[in-house]
Structures are given as C-alpha cells and as structure tokens.
C-alpha cells in the first residue's frame, strides 16, 4: 500500500482536479471523463464483492442494466432525475438481497457459475416484457427531461467518490478484515467466528447499489436504452479487467485500472471495438498469469505476508 499521507494527498489532488474540470474542459472531454468516472464506480463495485471476498461475479452488469431501466421508465412519468437515481439503486437492492441470499450459500466457483448466466437471463426477460420495456426497440427519452451534461458529470463524480470511500472504509475496518479472511480461507474464517454469510451478503448488496445508481445516470446522459446496451457483456468484461489490472482487493487499484484502460481505449482502440475487447482479454490473461496482484502489487514496499500465503491455498494436484 501507499503510505497513508501519500494516499490521502493524491486523493485530495485528484478530487480537486475533477471538481474544477467542467469549468476548463470542452463537451467531448467532459463526456469522456463522465464515462471514466462511471467505470471507476463500476470497478469499485466489483471490487467490493469480488476483490474483497474472492467471490467472482460474472453478472454485475445486470444491476447496471436494471438501474438504467428503472430511470428510463420513471423519467417520462415526471419523476425528478435525482429520484430516478435513488430508484436505480433501490431496484438493484431489491434484486441483490434475494439473489445474494440464494447464491452466496454457494462456494466460490459455484457462485461464479451461477452469476455467469444472470446477465443473459435479465436481457431475455427485459426483451420479452414488451409492454413495460418496449422490448428490443428500447426506450428513447426526450431531451427536455434530462439533466445537463455538467449535472450528469458531477453526479457520476459523486458516485465514483462514494464508491471509492466505501471501499476505503471497508478496507480499513474490521468488516474488511473479515471479508479478506473469507477470501483466504472461508472455512477458517467461519471457525474463528466470522459470520461469513452475513458479511458476504452485506458486501454483495453494497456492490449492487453502485452499478444501479450509475446505470440510472448513464441513461440520463445517453437518453436511450435497449436490452443489448443495458446488459452488454462488454460492461462485465471492462469491470473485471480494470480491477484485476489495477489490483483486486485494494482501494486504489480499481481507480488506476479504470483510468489506464479508459485512457488506452481513448488513445488507441476507440476505432476498433472488437480489437479493443480482444486486447482487454489479453490483458486479463496476462495479469492473472503473471501479476495476480495487479499493478498495485508493484507498489507494495513492505510485504506483510509472504506472497505464497497471499496467493491463497495451493491445491496443486501433483503434490
């Protein structure tokens, strides 16, 4: 970890720069920064459940898509945009509590498998419910209902900051310690009195609220939503790659990962979406194989635990 002072100072500088950005930047870069902040928020959300507990979720885009749809359905009814944002988070909450209650009883790989199809099922469900959602043709919002780009930017900014503060607060708390204990050895954590089911559920619900709110803001900014965009596999991929690249289970890793991946995308890959995702795949594979701790591991000065302990239980079959 960075030292506490360096960490706080860089955070303060970052927040000040981002707060004055709309005064300086043109519409294009402001729009880019809004997307970047959205990815920071999503990455932190994924980090809260998967980075902290090791329960890899392949279905977090579902909460994001549901938040988008909640806002897209409520805005035309005259609901103010900030209330739509809260509604987005509440819808994600309403799904995550029963879902987490059911799936978090499963151990890691089974949870991952159960989450893998969730996004697809949500997409089919929303597409089939034509009366409510307009089916595959999606919902277009009229521009006068929408907040300005600057408002969207600041809202996304607040969500990203809130997500990072939540992760930092968890990381430095007893709760965070318990989550990491679950990641390293769930059985042992249970044995020493950690209420693993309650902890996992709390982390899961927190990690669902943020994408729900971010999805609601996104739809106000793009003014259009359809099932393919709301439940896009690319959102899942980006979330996972950004966290793994930056450093999963850390406070700054997801911010770093989101910044670098979005920056690279802007510079090189915007013209070639398939090549862009392919390179994200290469990045994920390389990180998992060669740098499991992500970029943050490169900054680690003092190793509190031996790397082989940090890497988790080894079950090499040939002994």
């Amino acid at each position: 970890m960075l030292s506490k002072h360096a960490s706080l100072a860089s955070a303060a500088v970052l927040v000040v720069i981002l707060a004055v950005a709309p005064a300086v930047l043109g519409e294009y870069y402001l729009s880019f920064l809004t997307q970047l902040l959205m990815m920071v928020a999503l990455a932190q959300a994924w980090n809260t459940i998967s980075g902290m507990t090791g329960y890899v979720s392949f279905g977090h885009a579902t909460f994001f898509g549901m938040g988008s749809y909640a806002a897209a359905l409520l805005l035309p009814l005259g609901v103010p945009w900030w209330a739509c944002l809260i509604a987005g988070a509440l819808v994600a909450l309403a799904l995550s509590v029963p879902l987490g209650f059911l799936t978090l009883r499963l151990r890691g790989p089974y949870f991952a498998i159960a989450m893998l199809g969730l996004n697809e099922v949500a997409r089919v469900f929303v597409t089939l419910w034509v009366d409510l959602t307009g089916g595959g043709s999606g919902i277009t919002l009229s521009p006068e209902l929408l907040p300005s780009l600057t408002t969207s930017y600041y809202t996304m900014f607040l969500i990203a900051v809130a997500a990072t503060v939540i992760v930092a607060a968890i990381y430095h708390s007893r709760f965070g310690l318990e989550l990491r204990a679950i990641r390293e050895d769930e059985g042992a954590a249970e044995m020493v009195g950690v209420n693993t089911t309650r902890d996992k559920l709390a982390a899961f619900v927190l990690s669902a609220l943020i994408p729900g709110a971010a999805g609601a803001v996104l739809v106000m900014y793009t003014s259009y939503i359809d099932p393919a965009a709301a439940f896009a596999p690319a959102v899942n991929i980006q979330m996972i790659v950004m966290v793994m690249f930056g450093g999963s289970g850390t406070v700054w890793g997801p911010v770093l990962g989101a910044g670098l991946v979005m920056g690279l995308r802007e510079v090189f890959w915007a013209e070639f979406p398939a090549a862009h995702l392919m390179l994200l795949g290469v990045l994920l594979l390389s990180v998992v194989l060669f740098l499991p701790g992500g970029l943050m591991a490169l900054f680690t000065r003092r190793k509190l635990v031996r790397p082989e302990v940090a890497a988790g239980p080894q079950e090499r079959p040939d002994g």
Binding site: P233, L283, L289, P292, P317
Partner: protein
C-alpha cells in the same frame, strides 16, 4: 392444437434426445477437463465455435461437406488444444479454481472478439443434409438425426477409451490422484495436455455438426457454456457419464418447454435448472463436496 397427442410428445422427445446428445458431447469434454485438471474452462464453448467456423470456411471456400471436414477440423483443434495446454492452461493447474475461471474468461474474450474481427457478427450456417425423414406421422430432421447419433457414438468412443485403454486408465489415474499417478510412472503433464486437447476436440466435433442445425455467430458460445455448466452440475462435476445424462436431460426438458411454451423461455431453462440444482445441493447433484 392438441399438444398432448402421443405423436407430438414422441416428436418432442426425439428432438430433445437428439439435441441433448450434442449437448452431452460438448459438456462431457468440459467435465473431463475439470475432473482431470481441476480447471473450469469458461472458453470451452468457444472451441465448439472454432470447430464450427473451420467447417464453415472449408465448406464455403473448398466445398467440403461438414461430415467430411470432421476429419480435418477435429485433429486440427486437437493440435491447437495440445499447444494451448502446454503454453497457457498448464500455468493455472493447481492454482485456486477462481484463477482458472478468470484466465479462461480471458481466453474466451480473446476468441469471441477475434471471431468478430475475422467473421463479423452476422450469422453463418452450412445448409447441408437438409430436410426430414418421415416415418408414419413422425418427422425427424436429417441433420439433427445425423448429429445426434454421431454425438452419441463419439461420446461413447471417448468413454471406452477412458475405460479400456492403458492411456485412458492413465487419464483416470491422474483424475483420481495426480501424486500417486506420478509415482506410478505416469507423465502427468502429458496426460493433462492429452486431456485438454481431447476435450476441445470433442467440442470442435460438436461445433462441426452444429453448423448443419443452427446458425451461429461469434457470440453464440455464451448460451452454450451456460448450458454446459447446467449439465455438468446436474450430472456431477468431474463425472464423465454424468455429463452425458445431464446433457440428454437438458435437451429433452428444453424441447418440451419449447414445444409447450416459447423458444425464448426454453433458452432460460438451462439457467433456471442450474440455479435450482445449486440451491437444492450447493455442490451439485453428484458433485464432490471437497471442491473449494
């Protein structure tokens, strides 16, 4: 329409059994890799699509019939799997299962998007063996019949290989206990290369036959991997024959849901079955309790 007429029920049953056999061929490869290597290969269905696209290329550019291209595609994908295991998958063996999930997720992202770059996202198919055989009031689609029967033959050929041959016994020994297998003089790493290559070759064979039945795009794998996971969890993770029964069961259930409801709901059946089984038995119906 009288849905409960015996002919219609029989028709649905046969259609389900044939599709299910194809699922079984695909899923038993995935289960073999899990059983022997303790690696969950999320990219498994992408190898099916690799087989499908190779067969499509051979058909379009060289006019090779899919049944003939099996003899080219299956060895080719076997070779690719062999090399890939040695260079990549071998590094995640023995690491926590989540590592193999994330690494093969990376492989899947690369393969899907490479497919999109090369073939674009439009749907392809190979219109061969079209039409149906009519027996009395029953109509059985020719490509489904051929694919289903071939899939059963191939799955059982692999099963016999595992049961009877010396090499197959070595594979099972590694699945049972890698350490003891090493002591007995088995080259465990070579067995893992063989296992992975065999598994993706089975997926490719399923893919070649898929070209005659469905239209496919680089994204098609997502549906199939979901089905595979449902199948191996129903049938028991790591249990080769279990995957076969699970596959056939899923095929039949899907056919009946598709027949009585809508095809779109049939798509969700695999997921609902999967979640249901996981809730009743958190480690799968015949799963190993010690899997972490």
């Amino acid at each position: 329409m009288a849905l409960f007429e015996p002919t219609i029920l029989l028709q649905l049953l046969i259609a389900g059994l044939l599709t299910g056999s194809l699922y079984a061929l695909l899923a038993s490869g995935l289960n073999l890799v899990f059983g022997v290597m303790r690696v969950i290969n999320i990219a498994h269905a992408e190898f099916m699509l690799l087989g499908a696209y190779l067969a499509w290329v051979l058909y379009v550019y060289a006019n090779v019939h899919p049944l003939l291209s099996l003899f080219i595609v299956v060895p080719a994908v076997f070779g690719i799997g062999w090399v890939l295991e040695r260079t990549l998958i071998e590094h995640v063996v023995g690491r926590p299962l989540l590592t193999s999930l994330l690494a093969t997720y990376g492989v899947s992202i690369i393969m899907v998007n490479a497919g999109l770059l090369v073939f674009a996202s439009d749907f392809k198919s190979v219109p061969q063996l079209q039409g149906a055989i009519v027996i009395g009031e029953l109509a059985i689609s020719k490509p489904r019949l051929v694919a289903g029967v071939l899939a059963v033959i191939l799955t059982f050929a692999v099963y016999l290989f595992l049961e009877i041959t010396r090499l197959g016994k070595a594979v099972r020994a590694v699945a049972e206990h890698p350490h003891v297998a090493t002591i007995c003089g088995i080259d465990v790493q070579r067995i893992r290369m063989l296992t992975f290559a065999l598994a993706v070759a089975m997926a490719a064979a399923a893919g070649v036959m898929l070209t005659m039945i469905y239209s496919f795009s680089p994204d098609t794998g997502a549906d199939f991997i979901q089905k595979c996971f449902a199948i191996i969890i129903i049938g028991g993770m790591g249990n080769f024959l279990g995957a076969f029964y699970g596959g056939v069961l899923l095929g039949v259930v899907e056919a009946f849901v598709g027949g009585f409801g809508t095809t779109q709901w049939a798509e969700a059946v695999a997921y609902l079955l999967l979640v249901l089984v996981l809730l009743i038995r958190p480690t799968g119906l015949k799963g190993m309790a010690d899997v972490k």
